[in-house]
Symmetry: C4
Subunit: 213 residues, 4 copies
């Protein structure tokens, strides 16, 4: 609950609880839709089939990591939020729209890797969606800073880590999208690398590993 | 948690937390169902197909904006609520019923734009659903005001903006439904315009744009 | 958050927040699954088809009212809960299992009304599921009373109304199930009547209507 | 809300509310996906068909109990959490990934019991998923203890019961997986026994039964 309902500089104050609850619901749905696709897929002929369908499972893991990473970044962002306003809520809806859209190109990428003719189009669409999630997330963060929506206690390590990783990741996506126009499968491998880079907290992991030794 | 459990004028007091949580879940589902339809749709033959299926993607965007707008209005409404009562909870269920129904006519409208023969029926059903969401939302607001369910701190800018836009939007829907009986595709364009009008916060946007210049 | 973490008479104290959040999620899913079936159903040939498929839409409305009613009763119950214990959480899972199962017999009943040969079996399965939701909900309430899980402030009007309606409704379900063995379509009409009886708050409605006249 | 935002030993403090909300959403989805499979399954020819499809319903009950049990254990764990950190949130995402994956092997096991040739592969995959849920859940608990994430008020009976049951259950899973390589159907029966063992709170049940006699 916000302390002062009407800030002098014009932005409206809304309870952020419902935005968080709604966002969690949509993130959870998006992740589950990925699994729904797994379940819908014809299981075919056991082990050798599962081995043959590896590109689909890789796309599944990339999308899971990407949505998981976007959720972590979103949590870190709203955690530091003192209030929201009308435009923030709408920007947030836009982020959710793209997140919940991701299972669709994920499905296409799996099909693309089977019918080689559409590989370039589908892999490019997939890369653009991944890029859009990252860029819109950063826009949400930039808007919150511009409108002074964050609380005084600072932005926290997780949010700063997301901000620090923004430029390398966006550069990586642009390179991967360009690479994908010629070599779609290499682009998928690059997306996987970028997803891992986004989610793994290198500093914290190093700290946790070396603290107890 | 309500401060005084039994108000003198007969309405019951219920914690509004669960109504909000349940409503957020259903809104989130409704939005995700739209994407599920996207994923179920046969992807066909890449780029030229995607270009050909534009009416489906437009209906998707309209429905997303409409559910997003209904969620924003719902948030603004419950944000100001001091308590709920039995009838309010049931009215709210009715709103959710129609919101979660929207993906169904959205799907029909996409099909309608392919088989021209059912265009009128399906586009009319779609328009009536959009209208019902708006009218039931306004009924919820009217009931809350009549039963004095709002807290003292007033209704807030977002809720007032929803109330101000009610008459123009309902008039717009009725006109679009009538237009749709003769020219279904024009009606879809009108629904898109109304959805944008509903969601864009003109005053806040103007304020945000001109404050920093 | 419970005030005293370990009550003397042996039951464990758990935060009830997560049980409510999880239950809301599952109730929301169950209601949405009903709509998913609507969307999956082949839409066929416009208006005359929609008119022909009326039994399906009736079953949809009955199930929606039943899940909505079960959610209202569940809310009223947990609203008065001071704490939960291990067995209560498991009983609650059982209630959710049956609630989330309801869309399945709903689908069967729609099919049953098309292929007359399975009508009796499917309508009976549907009735047994509706009965199970009501009986397990009452068991949850009885367990909470037996283990003194309710807070001091009493059970509230909504919960008492659910308790008052229990015997008539269960009697009604048993009669409808028996009737359904001979006349399945009459049973469906009875289920509709019982669903309306369960959800409509007669006292509150009368009070709201006559207060302002 | 955490009391002290920055602990001296380096771990970051994050609000645990959103982790709980997000986890509840994903658990709820996973359980609902099981039912979705029920609904997708062709209902065939009434009663004798339902009787013939018993292996599917058994797998459904096992998976429901397993996810329900994992949710109970997760609740007990987060209930005692004073704070979270970056790695804990990522470990939690990994647990959710496997939980939401379970409906997929559940579906395969149902198919396996029809086409005998893939029984071994599918039943083994199912067993490995059940094992992974349990092992990752225990890893989450171990990590929380190692990093002192639990609050002072202790771990509580439910969490201790989960810890006590860990070794017997994991041993049981390993035995069942090995048995399943030769006798898949026996393994399914063992998984059912282990699921019941995990969910039933023997001590509390005995206490509740004998207290009132």
């Amino acid at each position: 609950m916000p302390a002062d309902p009407d800030r002098p500089h014009g932005g409206r104050v809304l309870s952020k609880d419902r935005m968080e609850g709604f966002s969690d619901g949509v993130f959870g749905f998006a992740i589950t839709l990925l699994v729904l696709d797994l379940a819908v897929r014809p299981p075919g002929t056991a082990l050798q089939q599962v081995l043959h369908a590896w590109p689909f499972y890789l796309a599944y893991v990339i999308s899971f990591l990407t949505i998981g990473g976007a959720w972590l970044a979103h949590t870190a962002l709203t955690d530091r939020l003192a209030r929201t306003d009308s435009l923030f809520l709408r920007l947030n809806l836009l982020v959710l729209l793209v997140v919940v859209f991701l299972p669709f190109p994920t499905r296409l990428i799996a099909e693309a890797l089977h019918n080689a003719s559409f590989e370039r189009v589908y892999v490019t669409l997939y890369g653009l969606t991944l890029l859009a999630i990252r860029v819109l997330g950063a826009a949400l963060d930039a808007y919150a800073r511009r409108e002074h929506l964050y609380s005084q206690k600072g932005e926290g390590e997780e949010l700063q880590s997301t901000q620090r990783k923004f430029l390398p990741v966006v550069t990586g996506y642009v390179i991967a999208i360009l690479v994908g126009l010629a070599l779609p499968r290499l682009a998928v491998a690059l997306y996987f690398g970028l997803a891992v880079y986004l989610v793994v907290p290198f500093r914290e992991t190093a700290r946790a590993l070396f603290r107890h030794t």
